[in-house]
Symmetry: D2
Subunit: 414 residues, 4 copies
C-alpha cells in the first residue's frame, strides 16, 4: 500500500541478486577450473528466483541469522546431487549478501540516475524559458529583492547535477573473501576480480567484510540527492500556497472533503520520502564500526536500511521528474507578488543609487508606517536628490537583476 506512494524494492529484488551472485560464483569458478565445468553450468541453470520462496528462505534464516544459508541449502537441493558440493564453493554468506547488496544498489541506481538526469534537463529548460520571468526572491520567507524564476530553476539544476556527480562516484563492489576474508579455500586473489567483472561490479582491493566505506559513501550520496529533491519540493510547495499561487502541479491532488483544493501532492510525497532519509543515513554510518572479520549485528542492520534508502530515494526522484514535467508556472502571479509591497522590495536598489542605506531604510519605514508608496515617499523627501525619472528607473525590477542571466548561462553550460 505504502510502496505505491513512496517507492518499491522488495524481497524479490534481493532474491534475484543473491542468486545472481551464486550463479556468477559458479561461472567464475568453473572457468577457473576450481569446480567442474558442468557443475558450474548446472548451478547456473538452477539460480532462478522462481524456484525460491522468500517466506521460506526467511524462516530458514532465523537459525543462521542470514538468508544465504537457507538459500544455499535450497539451491543444493535443486542441482544434480553430485554438483551440490560445488554450490557456494569457497564463499561465505557475507560474500553473497554483500555482492547482492551491491547488485540491488546498482540496479536501483540506474533509474534513479535516469530520473535525476531527466529532472535536471527539465530544470535546464525551465531556467532558459524563464530567464526573464520576473519574480520576488525571498529570504527567511520574507520578500527580498527581484529575481527571475529561471535562476531558481538554475539553482535546482546545479544542485541535481552535483548530487548526481556524487552518486556516480559511488561504485558498489563485489565481495568474495571466504569465511574470514583470506580466501582460505579459493586462495587465488585474482578470483574476486573475475567475480566482480562477471557481475559488472567494481572489484575491491581486498575483501571488505568489515570495511564499510562503500556502504557509508552510498548512503551519504543518496542523502545528498534526497536533500536536493527536498529543496525542489519545498520551493514548489511554498510557491503553490493559495496566497502565493506562482506554480501549480500538473493536476492537483483532490481532497476528500474540500473540492476546491489543488494539493501539491507530488511535492508532499517527495517531502515525505525525503524526510525519512537522514535517519536512515545515520543508521548506515552508525553501523560502520564492525567487529573483527564479521560484525555481530551491524552488518545485518544494513540490509533493510539500504533497501529503504534506495526505495525512498528512487520513489522521490521519479516523482520529482514527474513534478517538474508537469509544473505549471504562473508568471502573472509572480509579477503580482513582486508588486505586493508597492516597491519596498526595491529599497536596496534605491540605496545603491542614493548611496545611503540608512536614509533609504528610514524612508522605507515611513512608507510602511504611513501607507504611502515608497515611490511617493522618495519623491517627497527633500533629502533625496534623485529625479522622479531616476527613481522610477531605480525601482524597475528588470533593471536590478544583477548577473541573473549570466548565472543562468553558467548553470546551463555546465
Amino acid at each position: 500500500m505504502f510502496d505505491e506512494l513512496f517507492g518499491k524494492l522488495d524481497d524479490h529484488d534481493w532474491l534475484v541478486a543473491l542468486l545472481d551472485a551464486e550463479r556468477a560464483l559458479a561461472v567464475v569458478l568453473g572457468r577457473a577450473g576450481l569446480i567442474p565445468d558442468d557443475a558450474a553450468r548446472d548451478i547456473a541453470r538452477c539460480c532462478s528466483a522462481d524456484a525460491f520462496d522468500p517466506v521460506r528462505i526467511g524462516h530458514g534464516s532465523v537459525a543462521s541469522g542470514n538468508p544465504v544459508v537457507p538459500l544455499v541449502k535450497r539451491l543444493r537441493s535443486l542441482v544434480r546431487p553430485d554438483c551440490a558440493r560445488y554450490v557456494h564453493f569457497g564463499a561465505t554468506s557475507q560474500d553473497i549478501m554483500d555482492t547482492a547488496a551491491s547488485l540491488v544498489a546498482t540496479r536501483a541506481l540506474t533509474p534513479v540516475l535516469a530520473d535525476a538526469k531527466a529532472a535536471a534537463d527539465r530544470c535546464a529548460t525551465l531556467a532558459d524559458e524563464h530567464r526573464d520571468t520576473l519574480m520576488i526572491a525571498r529570504t527567511l520567507m520574507q520578500q527580498a529583492l527581484p529575481t527571475v524564476f529561471g535562476l531558481k530553476c538554475a539553482g535546482w539544476l546545479v544542485a541535481l547535477d552535483e548530487a548526481m556527480d556524487g552518486l556516480r562516484r559511488v561504485e558498489p563492489a563485489a565481495q568474495l573473501g571466504g569465511a574470514v576474508g583470506t580466501l582460505s579455500v579459493l586462495q587465488d586473489a585474482g578470483i574476486p576480480d573475475a567475480f566482480a567483472a562477471e557481475l559488472g561490479l567494481a572489484a575491491p582491493v581486498i575483501p571488505w567484510h568489515t570495511n564499510r566505506t562503500r556502504m557509508g559513501a552510498l548512503a551519504g550520496a543518496l542523502g545528498v540527492l534526497a536533500g536536493v529533491l527536498g529543496k525542489i519540493a519545498l520551493d514548489v510547495t511554498l510557491m503553490a500556497q493559495t496566497e502565493v499561487g506562482e506554480v501549480a502541479e500538473a493536476t492537483g491532488g483532490g481532497s476528500s472533503t474540500m473540492p476546491h483544493k489543488q494539493n501539491p501532492t507530488r511535492s508532499v510525497l517527495i517531502t515525505a520520502a525525503v524526510r525519512q532519509i537522514p535517519g536512515l543515513v545515520s543508521t548506515m554510518l552508525a553501523t560502520m564500526p564492525q567487529e573483527h572479520e564479521r560484525a555481530a549485528g551491524n552488518w545485518h542492520a544494513e540490509w533493510e536500511t539500504l533497501s529503504s534508502l534506495l526505495r525512498l530515494t528512487g520513489g522521490a526522484t521519479a516523482r520529482t521528474r514527474d513534478l517538474l514535467d508537469g509544473l505549471r508556472v504562473n508568471p502573472d502571479r509572480m509579477r503580482a507578488n513582486l508588486d505586493l509591497t508597492g516597491g519596498l522590495v526595491m529599497a536596496e536598489a534605491i540605496s545603491t543609487r542614493v548611496g545611503d542605506g540608512e536614509l533609504v531604510a528610514e524612508i522605507a519605514r515611513e512608507s510602511v508606517a504611513s501607507g504611502k508608496s515608497l515611490r511617493e515617499c522618495l519623491i517627497e523627501d527633500p533629502r533625496i536628490t534623485l529625479s522622479t525619472q531616476d527613481i522610477d528607473a531605480a525601482m524597475d525590477p528588470k533593471a536590478y537583476l544583477g548577473a541573473a542571466s549570466d548565472l543562468i548561462d553558467r548553470a546551463l553550460r555546465r
Copy 2:
C-alpha cells in the same frame, strides 16, 4: 524474507486498522443519530479487510497522497447505494489515518509489553538464582573487580522495568476533527470522545492533526526499550565470545562454513534491529513540526517510520525473551575468568585494607612486570604489614562483593 528475521507489520495490519476506524465512526455516528442507524450497520458490515486489495488502494493513493481516499471510495462502492454518503461522514483522511496508526501501535505494543514482561521475569529468576555466582565485572572492557552474575541480570531487569514503564505511559489516541480540526460537520466536541471509547483508544483534549507529541513520545519510548534490548544483547555477545565463554545461547547459530561455531545469532539479530531504531526515532521527532492544520509531507513521513519502529522493536523484544529463556550460564568459566589475572583484580580490596592505594598499585605493577602473583608480591613486600591470612581474606572475591546481594533484593522487590 527480512520480516522473519527482524519483525513483521504490514499493509494488512494497516488496512484492518483503517477499516476499524471507519466502522467505529459509523457506529458512533449512528448511535448519536448523526447518520441513519441502518446505514451505520451496513457500513460496519462492509468494513472487512478481505474486500480491499492493498495494492489497488496503494495505486489509488497516489493522486490524493494517502490511502484513505481510495479506501473510502471502495467502501462506498460496497455499501448499499443509499448509504454511500454516510461513509466517512464528517471525517477527514487524517482522522482515519491517525486513528489507524494509534490502533496499529496499540496492537503492536501488546505483544511487545508481554514479551518485555516475560524477559524481565526471566531476568528476575536469573538474578535470584545467580546471586552467588561469582564473575569478574568489566569496565572499559577490562577486568575490574568481582561481582555476581545475578547483579548483572538485576541490572537488565531494572532497565526492562523502566523501559516498560515509559512505554505504558504512552497512550495512543483516536483522532476525529474533520477537515481542519474544528469538527466543522460533526460540530459536537463529545463525538471524538465516543469515537475513542468505541475503539479503546485514549481521547485527546482536542484534535491533534498537527500536534504530534504522542507520536514523538511513542517513538522515544520505543527507542528507550530498544536501547535496553541492545544492552542485553551486547552483554550476551561479549560474554559468549570464544575467549570468554561465560554464557551461550540455547542453540548457537550454525555457520555455513565453520561447523564448530556457536554463533550468538539471537543477540546478533537483536542488535541488528536495535541499531535501526535511533535513526527512525530521529525521523519521528524531526517530522513533529507540521504546518498549519495538516502537514505537507511530515505527516506522511510518519506512516512507514512508525511501522518500522513497531516492527523492529517488536521483533527484538520477542527475540530477547527467547534469548533469555534459553540462555546457558557457565559459572565455571565465570570463575576461571575471575582468576585469570592471578588476583590483580583484588588490588582495590587490598588497597582498602592497606589504606594506601598508591603502594598497592606499585606492588600490582611489580606483579605484572615480574610475572609473580600479586599474593606472593604482597607477602614478600616489607611495606605490607598484613598477615598472609589477612591477605588471603582480602583477596577472596566472595568477601568483596559490597552490597551486591542487597542490590539484587532491591531490584527484585521493585
Copy 3:
C-alpha cells in the same frame, strides 16, 4: 558567539556539578561515619569551582578518559593532607560524572519548564482572546476551511502542556555504585539513597552505570518539546510571510541589505535549534547499549550530547516564550486571506447543505475556470435549489466553525 544565538551550557556548569557531587558524597559519608566528620567538612569547603581550571582539568582528562580523575587529584591537593584519602571515598569516576550530569540536567530543566509554562500561558491567553478571530485553516499548505486563530493557539497550548508533562516525568537520578556497581567499598545499599536525597535527585533502585534508560528518556522528552517549539515557530514563519502577513514578531530582524524586511528572527533561531535535536536524540539512544559494568565509549559520548540537547532546547524554549510574548496578530489580514478565494473555501459547507459533494465540486471547478465567484455560480446553477439567502448563510465562515469554541474551552480547562 553561537551560544548567544542558540543557548548556553558550558564547562563551568559541569565543574560546579561535579564538585557538588564530591561535596555531597563527603557530607553523606561523614554523616554516616564512613569518613571522619572534619574530613567531610574540609572536603566540602574545598569543593568550590573557583579553585579549578577547566582547561587544566581537560588536559588531565586525556590519560584517564574522563575529567573526574584530574578533578579528584586537584581536590586532594586542596584539602588538608590527612583528608586527601577521604576525597572521592568509595566512589568511581562514573558515579561523579553521572551524578553531575543529572545535576546539570535538573538545573537546565528548571528554566526550560518555567519558560515552557509561560509560553503555554501566553498561548492560553491568545486562544481565549482570539476565539472569534476568523482565519483560514490550511492543509497541505492550501487554504481549506475557516477556523479561528484561537484554535491554532489552543493547539500550541495542548502540545506544550503534553511536552511539559513528558519532561516532568523524567527524574534525573544520583549515581553511587563504586567501581563496578556493587558498592564494594561503601557496602551499604542505603548510602546511595542518602546521597541522592542530599542532592535533591531521584534515588535509583540500583546503580545504573550501564542502564541508561533515564538518559534515553530525558533525550526523548527534550526531543518532543523541541518538536512542539518547532511547530509553533513554523506556523509563525508561515503566517509571517510577506504574502500572508497574519502575524509578525515583536520587532522583526533587520536585514543587512534590505531595510524593508521584517524577518521572523526568533522563529528562525528556534527552528535552527530545533533542527539539531533529533540527531542528538538519536545519538543518546544509540549509546544506550553499554558494555558490561562501564562502557568503552558510549558513556563518554553522552556528555557533550546531553549538554547540546539541554542547551539548544533551553535556548529555543526561552525564545519561544519571547516570541509569543511579543507576537503581533493581524486579524484584518486573516480575514482578507479567508476571503481570497471568493468563497471557494466554503464549498464543503455548501456541500453539507446541498448533500451532494460531487455537484458542488463541479460547480466550484466551473467557478475557478470561469473566474465567476462561487456564490454567483451557485445562484445561477439550476441544480442548486437553495435560496440565495440559504447560500449566503451557508457561505458565512462564522457559521461553519464547528465546535471550535468548545474545543478552545477544552484546551483551556486542561
Copy 4:
C-alpha cells in the same frame, strides 16, 4: 574541559574566517575597481580578529539572527569613516558566513587528512610487519579461522585510504551572490570566481545559498571517515580485552580505583567521538531543503553542526594516529588464542581436505561434547581416511591462510 578530550574548534576559528572573507571581498573589489583601492587596503588592515569580541558579536547577532551583521557593524566602526560604506560591499550575510564555513572546514580538514594519512602509513607498516603473525579471525565475535594480524591492518589501511579519497573529493566553495544570489549590486558573475581564488576555495557555478550539496557531501565524507576510525578503535578495544590481550595501547589509562587496569583510553575516546557523528550528519542532511533564496532556520542550524562534525572527526583522527603509533602487539597471545579451541577452528580446513563438511562437523561436535581434541577424534574416526600426517598438515594454521599475503600486497600497493 571536553574540548581536550574530543577536539577543538571554536568561536575564534569562525571569527578569523569571517574576517578573512570580509578582507578577501575588499581586496577583490578593490582590484576590480568596484571600491576604492585605499578603502580596500584600509578594510583589509582592520580585519584582524583581535579587535572583535566574540561574546559581543554573539549578543549583537540575536536581532539579525547571524553574526555577520554585528561583525560588519564593528568593522565599519574600525575603518576610516569614509571607507565604512565599502565594508561588506555588495555582499549579504550569508555570503560571508558560507565562505567562512568553507574556510573553517578547509582549515580543519588539513590536519584531519594529515593525521589520517599518518595513521594509514602506520597501518601499512603494521600490515607488512605482521604479514606472518598468526591470529584467529573472528566472525560474529566467535573464533572462526586463522588469519594474520597484518591482514587486519591492511583492512584498516584500505578503509582509511577510501575514506580519505572521499574527503578529498569534497571542495568547500566560496559564496558570493549578494542579497538574493543575483549579484544585484556587484553584477559581474566573474567576481565570485576572483573571490574564491583569493581565498583558495573552490568557485561554485552559481551562488549556492540554498543549494547545500557541498555541506551534505562534506558531512557524509566525514561520517565515512568517522566510521572507519570507529572500526579501528573497536577492533583495538576488543583485542585489548583482558581475556584476549592481543594488543595494548602505548600506555593504558589508569583507573581511579583499580590500579591494575590498563584501559584502552584512546580507543574509548575515539569511539565516544565517532558515536556522535551519525546524528550530526543526519542533521546536516535534514537541513538541506532550504526555502527559496535563504532558509528560515535550516541554514542557521548548519553552523554548530558543522563545527561539531569537524571538531569531533578531527579529534578522533588525531587520536587514532596516536593510538596506532603506540600500539603494542602481542603475537604470543595471538597464537595462544588461536590454539584455544584445540584445533576446532581448523575444521573448515579439514572439511576441504575430506570433502564432506557434514561429517567433519559431526566429528567436531563429538570433540566438543567429549572434550577430546579434534585431532584425536579425527584420527580415531574410521570414516576419516586421511593419515595422521595429512591431518596434522591440514590442521596447521600457517597452511590455511589462503591468499592473505597477496591481499596484504594488494593493499600496500594501493
